[in-house]
């Protein structure tokens, strides 16, 4: 049993729709293919499917939001430079 493998399996489910689809179609087989133990595979059979989809969507939205961050950061840059200038 490996907690690291389990986290990696969850991460893949959270970011990859194809992995989720394969897992949904056959949870036990997918979990075992990922090297999870029988106990871990069994635990995943009772997964909160609705929560899995909602969480995955939320993570996808967050990844998408990262793109405009550079614009915000540049705004932060300008503001902080202005503060430095005004105070110095």
């Amino acid at each position: 049993m490996s907690a690291k493998q389990f986290e990696a399996f969850l991460a893949r489910l959270y970011v990859d729709a194809d992995s989720r689809a394969r897992f949904r179609a056959n949870p036990l087989a997918e979990a075992k293919n990922a090297g999870l133990s029988n106990a871990e595979s069994k635990a995943l059979e009772n997964i909160d499917w609705v929560g899995l989809e909602m969480a995955s969507q939320s993570f996808a939205n967050k990844r998408e939001l990262r793109r405009p961050r550079s614009r915000f950061s540049s705004l932060t840059d300008r503001l902080l430079r202005l503060i430095s200038f005004l105070i110095s």
């Binding site: 907690a3 389990f6 969850l10 929560g51 932060t76 840059d77 902080l80």
Partner: protein, 308 residues
């Protein structure tokens, strides 16, 4: 409002007594966002502290110099979002060292991170995810936290996260898992009350009971924020912690509860990530937080004064 004025306001509501000494040390501030910068600077006399996202400053020496200048105007805390310390995997040393350099440069009031993993086996999740709540992740988190504390030189306050899914493969409930990590790492808690509120609704527990289950002596800082209900495919609703809405009354109720439970001075941060209202509205929430804290401190003092 300056910290000293905040002391007077809090103490005035809380009334005199030994326990109000804690209220007089409580501080309330706002999360730094570019859109709020002008408002924060215009009203820094009404804000006790500002929380800055540390990751925005990694490897950016010019920004760090500017941040250092800002820290002369208002006390700063650093909040990390990308370390992924609550993991069975060891966090790379270079990631921790980036935080260490920033902490050394800025000398914040404290630094904080999340009880979450954000990547595994090279896969970047892109946000904070809850690992399985198990003894393995307790051990992994504790090892990461001990190493991070050693490298940075200061222990972080660790924040509980909101989850739309009950972490699969969990053997421990959330309160027990958090308590075990804090105990094993000797780290204190940044208690996010909207996350407690959201998880309570999403996963069917009583948020106030949750507060009674975590070690009150570990609560050192608090986040307050607002989210929204979203519809699930099965017709139910869950709370999304999006920080785009005003702080709801149940979260202020939890703030009073936390203040009534804790003996520590508390640093409260209002988080807002978008759909920004006027600065006056945000300052009104800051003011409300001070009043609620004071009410909680009064309850705490009354409880201590009643024998038995």
């Amino acid at each position: 409002m300056a910290a000293a004025d905040a002391v007077e306001e809090a103490a005035g509501v809380a009334d005199a007594g030994a326990e109000t000494m804690n209220a007089s040390c409580d501080t309330v501030g706002i999360g730094w966002r570019p859109e709020l910068a002008a408002g924060i600077l215009d009203h820094h006399d009404r804000i006790d502290l500002v929380e800055v996202i540390a990751d925005d400053f990694f490897g950016e020496p010019r920004r760090v110099r500017a941040l250092k200048t800002l820290s002369t105007q208002v006390p700063i805390t650093l909040h990390g979002v990308g370390l992924g310390l609550a993991s069975a995997s060891a966090v790379e040393t270079w990631r921790i060292e980036r935080m260490a350099h920033l902490v050394e440069s800025i000398s914040p009031l404290f630094w904080s991170e999340h009880l979450a993993f954000v990547r595994a086996d090279g896969i970047e999740i892109g946000h904070l995810a809850a690992p399985p709540r198990s003894d393995a992740t307790v051990d992994g988190a504790a090892e990461n936290l001990l190493r991070a504390s050693r490298i940075v030189g200061v222990k972080p306050f660790m924040e509980n996260i909101a989850t739309l899914i009950e972490p699969p493969g969990s053997a421990l409930d959330e309160a027990s898992w958090i308590s075990k990590i804090l105990s094993a790492s000797d780290c204190d808690l940044l208690l996010d009350l909207h996350n407690v509120f959201a998880n309570g609704l999403n996963h069917g527990y009583d948020p106030k009971e949750f507060l009674r289950q975590i070690p009150a002596g570990r609560i050192r800082a608090i986040h307050i924020a607002g989210g929204k209900l979203i519809s699930a495919p099965d017709g139910t609703q869950r709370v999304l912690d999006d920080h785009l809405h005003d702080v709801p009354d149940p979260v202020f109720d939890l703030l009073e509860e936390a203040a009534a439970l804790s003996l520590n001075p508390l640093s409260v941060i209002l988080e807002r990530d978008g759909s920004y209202p006027s600065m006056e509205s945000l300052l009104a929430e800051v003011s409300q937080a001070r009043q609620v804290l004071a009410r909680g401190r009064t309850r705490r003092a009354e409880r201590v004064e009643v024998p038995g």
